[in-house]
């Protein structure tokens, strides 16, 4: 966290241990900083997006506590990281998410209906009830299927970026992961391949301080995560993860470099996971609650709101209208998702291969003919 009065660099720094920030806590552009130009309309769309993630998280965590949803993962306090990355891309670029960036999908057009159907694993779930909640996949948005094992998407994103270059396209890959993932071999392997092949790939590390109960200090002895970029021959940038404008600036720079064939960048966004890892853990069991309170005072949405106030874009009426629209859409999506049954049992055998091979056809027939549970829906 940036302490009050802590010096920050005024342009994306060369020193990856130095935090880059544009907006101060009151939403003012810091002196001497060149802020990216974000049009009014986009500023408001970003605000609406931030608000949507916050409202959806609040509502769906409650739903999980009520036993209506099997599992959930919230992003509270990290919303700016989703939109700073999303904003800098064009639609043909690809996103390789981890499990805590729903805002990226929303920005690209993922509806709350699809989002909610996935959580319920029902018959309209875009991934056909194949994965537990929050493991979205939206090919039509170039938002790649989410995997639970940490870090596996990193070399895959590099491969996609290499493929874009081989195919003479200037699409870029943006891959998200938490700071815990930097301890995996996949991170080092992916960074190394990207450096060697100059892949147009942006590595976005959400350093939220915690990997379930393991603190950031137990993941690395280095001062920052961004500094790891240097060993792979690429720039590393440490950015204030609760400052949407700063993330946009850093990302726009990284995307421009990647698209121009200048290679990959590692971005470390310094933020904080205010909730638990998932609905399955209680963070009070392993960390000091005062730490959370300190970060609540650094809220990324509030900072963006203050910035919009300075630009005369924000009003309570507008906020209320957004909140109402989101809530209405969410409630309709929920009602719809809860009304739907599970996918048909036959679908369990689809998509293992392009075509159903004989042994699976036999097992499918056996499954349909045999005794079956009253409900095939194990999700919740």
């Amino acid at each position: 966290m940036l302490a009050k009065g802590q010096p920050v660099s005024v342009s994306p720094p060369r020193n990856p241990d130095e935090v880059f920030s544009i907006l101060d806590e009151d939403g003012n552009v810091r002196k001497g900083v060149r802020a990216p130009e974000v049009p009014d309309e986009a500023c408001l769309k970003l605000y609406r997006g931030l608000l949507q993630v916050r409202l959806v998280d609040d509502r769906y965590m409650k739903l999980q506590r009520q036993g209506r949803l099997g599992f959930y993962m919230q992003s509270t306090g990290e919303e700016a990281t989703h939109f700073g990355g999303a904003y800098a891309l064009r639609d043909s670029d690809w996103v390789f998410p981890s499990y805590r960036e729903p805002g990226l999908a929303f920005w690209r057009g993922y509806s709350l209906t699809d989002f909610t159907n996935q959580l319920f694993g029902n018959c309209e779930d875009p991934v056909k009830g194949r994965q537990m909640p929050v493991h979205h996949s939206a090919r039509w948005l170039n938002f790649v299927s989410i995997s639970s094992p940490v870090g596996t998407q990193i070399p895959q994103a590099v491969g996609m970026a290499m493929a874009a270059r081989i195919s003479k396209k200037d699409d870029v890959a943006l891959v998200y992961f938490g700071e815990g993932a930097t301890s995996t071999g996949q991170f080092h392997v992916g960074m190394n391949f990207a450096g060697v092949f100059k892949a147009p790939c942006i590595f976005f590390c959400r350093n939220n301080g915690w990997a379930i109960s393991t603190s950031r200090e137990k993941q690395t002895a280095s001062k920052s995560f961004a500094v790891k970029a240097l060993a792979y021959g690429m720039p590393g940038v440490l950015v204030d993860g609760n400052d949407l404008l700063a993330i946009i600036a850093v990302m726009e720079d990284a995307v421009k470099r990647a698209r121009a064939g200048e290679g990959p960048t590692l971005v470390e966004a310094l933020t904080y996971r205010r909730g638990g890892h998932s609905s399955s853990d209680d963070p009070n069991a392993y960390r000091d609650p005062t730490e959370v309170a300190a970060w609540e005072a650094q809220d990324p949405i509030e900072r963006w709101r203050r910035y919009l106030v300075k630009r005369n874009l924000w009003s309570q009426e507008l906020h209320d209208r957004y909140a109402q629209e989101i809530t209405d859409e969410m409630m309709a999506a929920l009602k719809h998702a809860e009304s739907l049954g599970p996918p048909p049992v036959e679908s369990m055998f689809d998509d293992v291969f392009a075509e159903l091979p004989p042994h699976l056809a036999e097992q499918k027939a056996e499954c349909l003919a045999g005794p079956r549970p009253k409900s095939g829906h194990g999700g919740h």
Partner: protein, 324 residues
């Protein structure tokens, strides 16, 4: 028609398909300028350039992880894992990612990656250049597993694998890489995945094998035949999906089964074959199913000939099973 060994047949298939389909790319350790440690990708770098024949850093999980990303974007990567023994760093990418991408995304993201890797013993390579890890991959839903035994099949099966829409583990029998020679058409042809082949017709015992073991079994059959036995040999060619019909027809005819593979016995592929036959043709059996396999030890260096199923061990199993 040219006479090729398996390496030349693989090389020919890769070249043919890279010419035909610009989406096909090759990547791996030393596959570029050098042409691979076994020379399977020889000449491809000069012909197709560094964008389509990529020398990668030394990291198997990166080779397969990036290959998956390339396939997601629409390419058809054919990565090489230099020895099957080195495939384990990529195991998570293969088993949790490659095999499951299509399924877990509800059919949105197919990942047609064909992983070529030399496997098996008999080259004095010790533990880390001799293993046969096929069963791990057969046990993973979403992967096809193909193992040719000769140059003709290697070319036809590899072309089928690359043209398919599914991930394939394509294991090449390195002991007979150069020793197995045969006529290979220069033209384009494919052999369907999932079809076994009867390579020796016989009436008395069904001998099930694949890869390098086909050659061991042929030798064993000659020895047994010299003593009046008449085994039938089936080269499975594809382990998954298995051609159960060809296997069962033979078993119903002979009533006796010997299974040979190099991999350790317990939970080896032979266990699945034996179970499948027991489920579907038990009443046709006249003798217990026999397995001639590697032992349940790590692969030894000095004693590899003791470890590997030999023609004599297979011949003995043929005779015992035939006379049970």
């Amino acid at each position: 028609m040219p006479v090729y060994n398996i390496i030349q047949a693989v090389n020919d298939a890769l070249r043919l398909e890279m010419k035909r389909d610009p989406r096909v790319v090759v990547l791996g350790e030393d596959v570029g300028k050098f042409g691979g440690v076994f020379r399977a990708t020889s000449g491809l770098y000069d012909e197709f350039g560094p964008d389509r024949v990529m020398d990668t850093p030394l990291a198997e999980s990166g080779i397969i992880g990036t290959a998956i990303g390339m396939a997601l974007y629409g390419l058809k990567p054919v990565p090489e894992i230099q020895f099957a023994d080195f495939i384990y760093p990529a195991y998570d990418q293969i088993v949790n990612e490659l095999a499951k991408f299509r399924y877990r995304s509800g059919g949105q993201y197919p990942t047609p990656v064909v992983i070529r890797t030399p496997y098996g013993g008999g080259i004095r390579g010790g533990h880390y250049h001799s293993q046969s890890p096929e069963a791990y991959f057969v046990h993973t839903p979403g992967l096809k597993v193909v193992i040719p035994s000769n140059p003709y099949d290697a070319k036809g099966l590899l072309l089928s694998a690359i043209r398919g829409e599914d991930p394939v583990i394509f294991m090449e029998p390195k002991r007979v890489y150069r020793a197995a020679k045969g006529e290979v058409p220069e033209d384009d042809y494919t052999i369907p995945i999932g079809q076994a082949k009867i390579v020796r017709e016989g009436s008395q015992v069904t001998l099930l094998c694949y890869g390098a073991m086909v050659h061991t079994c042929m030798e064993a059959a000659e020895k047994a035949a010299a003593e009046g036995f008449d085994p039938e040999i089936i080269d499975l060619r594809t382990l998954l999906p298995l051609d159960t019909e060809t296997v069962l027809q033979s078993v119903r005819k002979t009533g006796r089964v010997v299974i040979a593979h190099e991999a350790p016995r317990t939970c080896g592929y032979g266990a699945e074959l034996a179970a499948m036959i027991a489920e579907r043709a038990l009443l046709s059996l006249e003798a217990p199913i026999a397995r001639v396999t590697g032992f349940d030890t790590p692969f030894p260096y000095t004693l590899e000939n003791e470890y590997l199923p030999s023609p004599d061990r297979v011949a003995q199993a043929i005779k015992q099973t035939a006379t049970y």
